[in-house]
């Protein structure tokens, strides 16, 4: 029987299979950041240990950092302390840190790929659920808790039960105005926020193959929002072209050998999956969420389900959610005023996202009363945006281009959406309070967010193309 992409990578990393238990899985790359690592370092030190393989660990400061005036000391004492601890811990354990002020600093899931650290066939972990992003390169990448961060620091291994495998095939061409964010919001709306729990998901099909690496990363990034352990896409020429020449990519001497191995990374034609889902790209519209989990999404012109269309036992959670959002069952969301537009996060803050937004807003101005925050995913993205004059386009449109970090995706720094305000956001989670206490989040693509910035309301991008 044929092997899946997942199996091929998994098998190469199992150090030991425990009877009646998990596998001991070898980890190639470990990304760390300031929020989920301090307790792990502390645990390690209590055991009198050092990080086993510091050269396989890469650190950055992203969750907690300000996105304005990064050259100044961080104002918030707790945030400053956490970032300072990361600096000290990395120094003590000989770990490469791309901290504030470093030209490679940025959101951990943006910098790994853009520096060529993320490569096909690897096992990659990070104390962050959106580690699934790296699966876009055909790697097994997933988020872990802090105890597991400590395990990897101490032993370069993790205990993992092998997940079930699901393949989601998206076939055909995308409609005008529909981008990869819409694909993943559509998938999650179809299968729900828990539809892939217990599974590792491979995304396949002609619509996925046609996507750029940035667009593939957006899809894998949100695998966790349907409960999946991770998401992955078989590497192909688009992947190899993206990696080639990047700073930490294999050099000329190793390239051919690596490439030959990477080309073996695909699910065999006769491989079987525990579950398979087939979707048509043509059915996908520009998407928007209306509730407080990412599965509560719909086409931007659709209406929110009426109360009698929701299953009886799901009704309390559904109504609680709409009550929080200040929205009515059975109503249309198009035309709803928005107060904030946030374009950023590990989902949509790459150069391609910024280019897409800039190409739409060029020559247009933001609506009165709307605050627009553009937060690039990394210093490299910021630099590239400036080199291409994208910063000028944003400035003329009245958008604010800030400095790299996780920012208003989780509002750990001061980038918070005020209570009761509506924010159309290119991030990944619309949970209660995610962008600030009582803030109301509407998840959408960079294009749909850009239209909202210009019109001041939720609009259908197809009317403007």
């Amino acid at each position: 029987m044929g092997k899946t992409l997942f199996d091929k990578i998994w098998e190469k990393h199992v150090v030991r299979q425990i009877d009646g238990g998990p596998a001991v899985l070898y980890i190639d790359k470990h990304f760390i950041h300031e929020v989920t690592s301090p307790q792990a370092f502390k645990g390690l030190e209590q055991r009198g240990m050092k990080v086993l393989r510091p050269q396989q660990v890469v650190a950055t400061a992203d969750h907690n950092v300000p996105t304005l005036q990064q050259h100044l000391p961080i104002k918030d004492e707790l945030s400053r302390n956490q970032v300072q601890q990361l600096i000290e811990n990395c120094k003590k354990h000989d770990i490469e840190l791309y901290g504030l002020g470093h030209p490679f600093q940025g959101i951990v899931h943006v910098i790994g790929p853009e520096l060529g650290i993320t490569q096909p066939g690897m096992t990659i972990v990070c104390g962050d659920s959106h580690t699934s992003t790296h699966g876009a390169f055909g790697s097994i990448a997933f988020g872990i808790g802090t105890s597991e961060v400590e395990m990897v620091m101490a032993t370069q291994c993790l205990m993992q039960s092998k997940p079930k495998l699901m393949r989601i095939n998206v076939e055909g061409s995308l409609n005008k105005g529909v981008v990869s964010k819409d694909i993943i919001l559509y998938i999650i709306a179809q299968i729900s926020a828990s539809g892939a729990t217990g599974y590792f998901v491979e995304f396949a099909g002609s619509a996925i193959r046609a996507l750029s690496m940035e667009a593939r990363m957006t899809i894998c990034n949100m695998s966790i929002e349907m409960g999946a352990r991770g998401g992955m896409i078989a590497p192909d020429d688009i992947t190899f072209d993206y990696i080639k020449g990047r700073l930490f990519a294999p050099g000329a001497a190793k390239w051919e050998r690596k490439l030959a191995a990477w080309k073996e990374l695909y699910s065999d034609a006769d491989a079987t999956f525990d579950k398979e889902i087939n979707l048509n790209a043509a059915d996908i519209e520009p998407m928007i969420t209306y509730g407080t989990n990412p599965g509560m999404g719909m086409g931007v012109t659709a209406r929110i389900p009426a109360e009698n269309e929701v299953e009886e036992k799901e009704k309390p959670s559904f109504l609680k959610s709409l009550n929080y959002m200040g929205l009515q069952p059975g109503t249309v969301i198009k035309g709803k005023k928005v107060d904030y537009v946030f374009i950023g996060s590990c989902t949509n803050s790459r150069i391609e996202d910024l280019r897409l937004v800039a190409s739409f807003v060029k020559g247009r101005k933001k609506a009165d009363g709307v605050q627009v925050w553009i937060v690039p995913g990394s210093k490299q993205v910021e630099k590239q945006a400036i080199a291409e004059g994208i910063d000028k386009v944003f400035e003329e449109a009245g958008f604010q281009l800030r400095q790299p970090g996780c920012s208003a995706c989780l509002a750990m720094n001061e980038d918070k959406i005020p209570a009761g305000k509506y924010c159309i956001s290119t991030s990944n989670r619309n949970f209660e309070g995610r962008q600030g206490q009582n803030a109301r989040t509407l998840l959408a693509s960079p294009l749909t967010a850009a239209v909202a910035a210009i019109t001041g309301e939720i609009a259908d991008v197809r009317d403007y193309l």
Binding site: Y26, D128, T155, T197, G227, R229, S317, L410, E432
Partner: protein
Amino acid sequence: MSKSINIINSTVVPVNIENIDTDQIIPARFLKATSRDGFGKNLFRDWRFNNDDEQQPKEDFVMNNPAYKGKIMVAARNFGCGSSREHAAWAIKDAGFDVVVSSFFADIFRNNSLNNFLLPVQVSESFLAQLFEAVARDPETAIEVNLEQQTITIVATGAQESFEINSYKKTCLLNGYDDIDYLLSMRNEIEAFETARP
């Protein structure tokens, strides 16, 4: 953190809400700490208090109802989804819980719980409904969770269901072992694995 779990007999705190994400369990603004301690007081912070003010409890949230207390939390399906923050498991454990019962757990939360000797007990939808009904009728309803036997029982009625846990993890929890000890014992094997790789 109390290490090792076997039999837990307790009243329960029922949180009958689906898809509870870890942002609700412990909001991001509390993740700036650098130790594992003290997260319990901020468990479900924004569901417990209006305006982030402990003087303004939300009357309708179960944790503000003194009738409900105990070492077992019962929650509706897809508990612990979203962020991988282990702080969620730390907060629940620190608030005095040893067990969380639900019909469905998010994967990362399940692992984080097990690594903190917080036992996730997955039951059927129908048994979960029975639990919620029994506790709504009588907040004093006692539940017994027996890890050795892998059973959960409503003591008064004897209604019982068995739950799954892999035998490795069960041994760890019963004996207070953690994964890191196991992995450290494999040091030579891990190094040999590294050497043998192409």
